[in-house]
Subunit: 384 residues, 4 copies
Amino acid sequence: MSYQKPIKLGMVGGGNDAFIGAVHRIAARLDAQYDLVAGALSSTPDKARASGAALGLDPARTYDDFNAMAVAEAAREDGIDAVAIVTPNHMHYPAAKAFLEQGIHVLCDKPMTSTLEDAQALLEVAERAEALFVLTHNYTGYPMIRQARDMIASGDLGDIRVVQVEYPQDWLTEALENTGQKQAGWRTDPARSGAGGSIGDIGTHAFNLACFTTGLEVEKLSADLHSFVPGRQLDDNAHIMLRFAGGARGMLWCSQVAPGNENALKLRIYGSKGGLEWSQEDPNYLWSTPFGEPKRLLTRNGSGATQSAGRLSRIPGGHPEGYLEGFANIYSEAARAIRAFQANEPLPQDIHFPTVRDGVAGMQFISACVASNEDDSAWVTVQS
Amino acid sequence: MSYQKPIKLGMVGGGNDAFIGAVHRIAARLDAQYDLVAGALSSTPDKARASGAALGLDPARTYDDFNAMAVAEAAREDGIDAVAIVTPNHMHYPAAKAFLEQGIHVLCDKPMTSTLEDAQALLEVAERAEALFVLTHNYTGYPMIRQARDMIASGDLGDIRVVQVEYPQDWLTEALENTGQKQAGWRTDPARSGAGGSIGDIGTHAFNLACFTTGLEVEKLSADLHSFVPGRQLDDNAHIMLRFAGGARGMLWCSQVAPGNENALKLRIYGSKGGLEWSQEDPNYLWSTPFGEPKRLLTRNGSGATQSAGRLSRIPGGHPEGYLEGFANIYSEAARAIRAFQANEPLPQDIHFPTVRDGVAGMQFISACVASNEDDSAWVTVQS
Amino acid sequence: MSYQKPIKLGMVGGGNDAFIGAVHRIAARLDAQYDLVAGALSSTPDKARASGAALGLDPARTYDDFNAMAVAEAAREDGIDAVAIVTPNHMHYPAAKAFLEQGIHVLCDKPMTSTLEDAQALLEVAERAEALFVLTHNYTGYPMIRQARDMIASGDLGDIRVVQVEYPQDWLTEALENTGQKQAGWRTDPARSGAGGSIGDIGTHAFNLACFTTGLEVEKLSADLHSFVPGRQLDDNAHIMLRFAGGARGMLWCSQVAPGNENALKLRIYGSKGGLEWSQEDPNYLWSTPFGEPKRLLTRNGSGATQSAGRLSRIPGGHPEGYLEGFANIYSEAARAIRAFQANEPLPQDIHFPTVRDGVAGMQFISACVASNEDDSAWVTVQS
Amino acid sequence: MSYQKPIKLGMVGGGNDAFIGAVHRIAARLDAQYDLVAGALSSTPDKARASGAALGLDPARTYDDFNAMAVAEAAREDGIDAVAIVTPNHMHYPAAKAFLEQGIHVLCDKPMTSTLEDAQALLEVAERAEALFVLTHNYTGYPMIRQARDMIASGDLGDIRVVQVEYPQDWLTEALENTGQKQAGWRTDPARSGAGGSIGDIGTHAFNLACFTTGLEVEKLSADLHSFVPGRQLDDNAHIMLRFAGGARGMLWCSQVAPGNENALKLRIYGSKGGLEWSQEDPNYLWSTPFGEPKRLLTRNGSGATQSAGRLSRIPGGHPEGYLEGFANIYSEAARAIRAFQANEPLPQDIHFPTVRDGVAGMQFISACVASNEDDSAWVTVQS
């Protein structure tokens, strides 16, 4: 493999104390595909400056306004090629728009926006932009998820019948948002998060993962949303029944009030010929259960690994990879895409990463959940 | 403990090849509380005779008609005290009625009947009978389920918020009923099973277990039933959303087309102070997850066992007990109740076993699922 | 299957408070192959009487002297066919001798005796007796152990290379024997247990299980025994290296001072073509790991079950069987053997149960461990 | 936290196809503490050049002779601060010596050398050098190992009694070294690996981990080494009994012929007050088993995490970290040490990383194993 210069990366959001900004920076760095060279890490000038300095950024490329940053970087000869957007949800749209319109590639955290309107507007912006838009639904980057997707695509499970996906957490079991904790604050605030609480924060991940892995679209859903903690404005628990195009049925449960669950995202898929089960907290394993045969425990890069699972692994089976490696796979796949784009070549066929359309689908999912819930859990069509 | 003579037991159904009859016989025998002395093991005279002989029954007490058996046994000085009913569902009601009306205690397999009408009729019969009616929802007999019930009743979990219960199997992934397999035959036949397929066969277990353990009743449900195998008349997969009295919400999934699942009944309960998780296939464990503390793995009869879990264990922790022991606990609790009844004493306060009211609730659950499903998954009140 | 009258069973030891006596009684009863009709449950007359009454035994067949019992029962027309011996170790030999010499079959708890001399004497007695001797190394009765034995015998693992067996417990972490606890009392007392502490109580189980499953004999061992609790006379932890005939090597660890372990007997076997792993606390599973292929989780009576595993199962996969069922398999296999013996027929070829020779091997194991430990862990030949 | 310029890093070994070189590079990069700027990636000039180019190194700083590299880099104003040595074992000593003598810090893969003599010579070199020597026993970098170490050091387990450590793999079940596979080639070759096969490659990891975590030293060992694959010169399986200073006893098993095991390093430690269990393949969990209390499953950065486990975590519990993150912890701790050294400050008190003394201990372990094995598994003192 010949050497390729790192892609020059900027970041919007992700200043001191932000959780997800640090994750994006590690993901970008892990495979040596990006150099972080600029940032609008905060809209508060002091904090932007301090955060930039803490990361060793050139003060001249430390901004407190992402619009200014987009313009300035686009004008520099050594300007950034791509930007990571890691702000609260309501800022995703204007920030993404600013960079895409300058021809700067965007890697944006999920959910894509805080409203469906913003999502649809961003779709238009992205489709006419001279740049790529990548949504960091990082769980799709886990090698065993790629293996599951391959196995389903090649018919190992037969016709898909049942999809059970869940994402329980427990960190909002009590009213953490009233303690001043920053993460809890914006994630339970409709003004910054949008109409979805748990369904936006983690339900969209579960929804995206189920669709990505099966290759199926959800046609209709019936949702029962609830907020168990007194005073909380957004849902902290959601029960959702799913009907997929083609006839599969499913359930999605997400919760932030389920004590004992940290990030217990779990996906189970059953077809006419077999099943698959995967858990995010133990991501190096994939249960494969062909009907009428013994259960098999596949391991990342172990016996029975598919080509795509192997390609996205760095080390042999038995040496666990985790969340950061899965996240880095999104970044590194995006790097391949950006390089192809820069070279005016078609995207490599084996690349899969979440796009602006997945982002719209996620916002449609949130909207449909809210609409169904308000209509006594009636079946609601998920637009597409 | 002083010696108590075994209770004289009869059996209706359970001839050669029947699965559940043999289970009841072992459960009755395990703690030496019953002697099987009579039976109407089949309605086919030859088969009834042969099955009785294979069990060493007195030919004079081998019947081919349960009505005749009920009358004859009631007339004998050494007649049976109790009868186990293990026929297909549609025969439960007439058989139970015949024995209850003779003052013979009944231990009946689930679901209690094949129609809600029969269930309500049986309720009346049972309430005016001079005998006990015990429904063998055997999963409630597992010691760690008793421990979970105790912990919830004593407030360890705080207010119950979320109840996730599921019972996936895979044995009907293909059209086994077309091969002449007897179990599959009657369980997929509305005439013998009633209106519920998977919801009757295993959904009622899941429903009963969730209610028994939490002490909560389901007020409303929204159901999406489906039959995936072409030609199958009854549901083989069901997705159900639950709303409990008092505000808890939940989900129930049962399936007989989920490859890789044998009898994967699983119950998870989350409250404002903590959670519990239990799996039937590994029944000697109970996860206890008090919010903000490390997860604890409680073991049957191990450190932290409650009194009732200990009372229903025969051997120390680390030596696993299983399905038959849990089933036997229902029989042995029933024996305690029968002896108290015979002695004209009140039931011991620490006894819990499923009753005719649980049987009616199970049939109401099936009816509500069918009604909701026919009404596009509308929320339907579960009568009670 | 035609009906067979239960075998008439007596019991020596196993009065009130004894743990293992109750286990033997359930094991004998579970498959309806035995009726308990006589007993010398204690050598203390009052206790013997009370214990017999609590079990509903005929007072005329309640003894306080096993020699008297052996003579009296042999003389009765309806005398016992077989006897279960469940006393502390040092009484096994005289009791077994008394019954064998009367032509009464013996089912004896392990270790077989308290000294190697007694074991060798019992071997002679058993070989010239007109009765069978069965040693209840109950773990060999688990269906998945039978499956493992079958798979190894049929060459699935290739040449066996490495055998790792361990049996950690934690109940003697503190000096329980000083509190008056009866089980701890005799098990840590050389006069009643013999020269082995943990190696006798649980090490012999591990040793027997490794040999039974692999079909291999241990040629030499090197042992490091230790007693960690101050004042304890017998070993409470043992590390042992093993060399098997044919070239396999192994390790055996047993401990009664390993906090967090209840009865964590575990067996792992590796050959030139694959491996197997089994844990007593989760006995319905068997990991099969053919080299170069994905790991498979075999379940009791599930897909891939062998004939012998299926024959010793009562219920389908996914409904767990446990310790008592495994123990009952030893009793029920013994019943088949006794019936063949009574009918003057050869033993069925598919029967396997531990015999007096396994008992001698167990005592040789203890002796070799003690000898090696006293000789600075030198390799000691295990006689055979 | 204020920004700190990356440490300038070189690498010896680790050219194309090498497994461990890539791991070291990721580990160095993960926390942005190092920049790789120079390398002698191969001793074959062409391969050295090509490998350097593939990594984007300045051709002027791409060497094919580590001695020349040490001298040249030491002479540059922008010369490397530290070097990673990732060659086969026999080159570790001369390479480390070359850099240490130039005052360049060394991060060296394990085992430290191929002979005990080299190890002792390197100890002397390191002790008089003006530079640090860090041995990358990477498993000590896992956060839950740090937590285990903390808990033991603070007395949670009481007196340590039993230490069970094992590291089974299966990749050498067949004669892979005869197929031309490079990793298998040098690891089974005494000339390049030294006297230890599995004991050197993975046994030293297990040994180091047990000592690091417990804080105990091994006084004596008794070893049974074997090579199961015909023609293999070095051990591929080892059974070792351990006696620790202070009275604890233990067992170490390592194997490269145990089918079904990828990198199943597992550590179990039992004391008078409780136990701990940890598995490398599921490294985000730590079982804590205080005697007489329910078992607890501690999670990385979850409830009950200690300060040091938290400090070495990047993301919250439930989002798994893995092998690369653990490896990076060694690099990042080394970076803290190097910066303190450069600033002429004492090492931070909370830093722990494996040093040259651990490397010597590892070689003493190998020597003692070989000596014991040659003396019929006699107990051999491990020098220290």
